[in-house]
Symmetry: C2
Subunit: 310 residues, 2 copies
DNA sequence: TAAAAATACTCCATAGGTATTTTAT
DNA sequence: ATAAAATACCTATGGAGTATTTTTA
């Protein structure tokens, strides 16, 4: 026994002979002549330790081992061809896996709709969803642990993405609005007093999570000569709103978050008179340059999808 | 593209590199050096039209196509190895198909028990059961449409099997008994009158079905100076008994058939005084000489099985 | 006697080896 | 500086071809 590796060619030859029960015609079908086919079958039988065919010098019949193997071998060969097909499908972006990060705010926005639509159009692409903050997404991209991600940054700021070999597509642009404890006077005041607002303790994410957005909020305070007191930091938007509801302070949140209604919290947009220089945020879809087809498919889908914030 | 036939070797090389993510170590595992491995992977990628790995000169990572293919290819390779294992199993008689013929009488005898026992001991041998008369079994053997069969012939006669390249094993030897219509006087007579019996019309199978047995019955009549009137011929033992029940005549049936009780029919054995020269029959298991392992397994099993008639 | 499988041999394509180069860490 | 992949080139195994023999239906 040379080696117990029986290759596709040998099995194909077996199937040809088994189906035609004629070495000459089988060789023809295999685009070869019958002597090497005879030898190949003999070698295959030697390797298996079993006769596959019962033959006299005029006729060929299946031996028990041959009869038992014909169907399984056919099936195995078909699966082998399917592997090449699968490879092409992956290359064309029809099949594959997409590791998709997203900041929690987008969960309230268009993301669920997009995902449903994308799964419908590309059922053989498996989307692995991961809620990850903007900064962690950046690290994940560097380590190739993420294929695409929705991340947050302040409007107008460079998304800080071009330098890292990443591409970006803006999918949402919206103002930040105030989240206020229901019982708080500001929640009901007919006119929002900026000095009063800026005196409230703030619930906000830690700066490293999304520096540009953090800075945009602080810049607004500074522009009005104030420095906010940070009552509590929290990472998840859910947590921030919960803390507001508990009365720890006020918070600036992207407008989509208002879709998450919560007892004890009211949302309030800045009036147009105060909106000049007020912080706004963008949500961008980010991916590595020259993306694999699956990622390109997702980007194309999102680009074509109706996005509320333009 | 040379040819769209990607063989086992190439896929194995792919798996080695994909698992170790290191051409040098992968080559080691494949008992080769890395340059040909590099070339082989490049060729594979060319054939698939897809990169399988993303590599710089120091490091190797799975490309999307590679990641998608790794598991399916592993599985496919395992199935490929299973084919060789299957071949060996067939050769050893552990796996396969057994086309088994049997005369209907044996269905009342030990056959069901044997089959149950055989399936238990050899669950991966698929037994194809076919109720076939003795003469048709002979034809089927000649055409290789049957692997083994239980057939009937008269006791003491040569089973007519040795000349045809067949082997035989006697599994049952038994007298023929009378099947009588319930209402018939002979059914209740304390002493069986041979002249009366021999005057009754006979229900019997056509001679070609089992010539030696047919002749043995007629010889018994002739020995007593009688010639039977054949009322009706029928092939299935079930049918013969039904005809007896309908009063068309009497029949000689193998003793095992008495296990099939039927309204309107009584069975009666010949008394010892009349048994001299009375017809008896043998049931033999028959198979082609130098049988494949699966057939040998079955013969061995039957040989070792408890058989009522010795 | 003719059709088909087996055998004998010849050849070349390619899998694999050795030596060397390139490059990223 | 070094580890590791890529490249260049060589070798030889074995898969496929041509010619011939054998067998049996």
């Amino acid at each position: 026994m040379t080696n117990d590796l029986i290759d596709v060619r040998a099995w194909r030859q077996f199937v040809a002979v088994a189906e035609l029960l004629h070495f000459g015609r089988a060789a023809q079908r295999l685009h070869m002549t019958h002597p090497p086919l005879t030898m190949a079958i003999q070698q295959l039988e030697r390797r298996l330790g079993q006769p596959l065919f019962v033959r006299n010098r005029r006729t060929v019949m299946l031996a028990p081992a041959g009869a038992a193997l014909l169907q399984p071998v056919r099936q195995w060969l078909a699966q082998g061809e399917a592997l090449s097909v699968l490879a092409r499908a992956v290359g064309d972006g029809d099949v594959g896996r997409l590791r998709l990060g997203f900041v929690s705010t987008l969960g309230f926005g268009p993301l669920p709709d997009w995902l449903r639509g994308f799964r419908e159009r590309h059922p053989r692409i498996e989307v692995e969803l991961r809620e990850v903050t903007t900064d962690v997404q950046r690290q994940a991209f560097a380590r190739s642990e993420l294929d695409a991600g929705f991340m947050l940054h302040a409007s107008g700021m460079d998304s800080g993405v071009e330098d890292a070999g990443l591409d970006a597509l803006r999918v949402l642009e919206e103002p930040l609005v105030l989240a206020l404890p229901e019982a708080h006077p500001l929640a009901r005041a007919t006119r929002l007093s900026l000095p009063v607002l800026m005196a409230q303790p703030l619930v906000i994410f830690p700066r490293p999570i999304a520096p540009s957005l953090f800075d945009a909020v602080l810049a607004y305070y500074h522009r009005h000569g104030a420095v906010p007191t940070i009552a509590q930091e929290a990472i998840q938007m859910q947590t921030i709103v919960n803390l507001v509801s508990a009365g720890l302070g006020v918070a600036w949140v992207p407008e989509v978050v208002t879709r998450m209604q919560r007892r004890g919290v009211v949302y309030r947009a800045l009036p147009p008179s105060l909106a000049v220089g007020a912080p706004r945020c963008e949500t961008s879809l980010v991916w590595r340059c020259e993306p694999p087809a699956v990622v390109a498919r997702f980007v194309d889908f999102v680009r074509a999808a109706p996005s509320p914030g333009g």
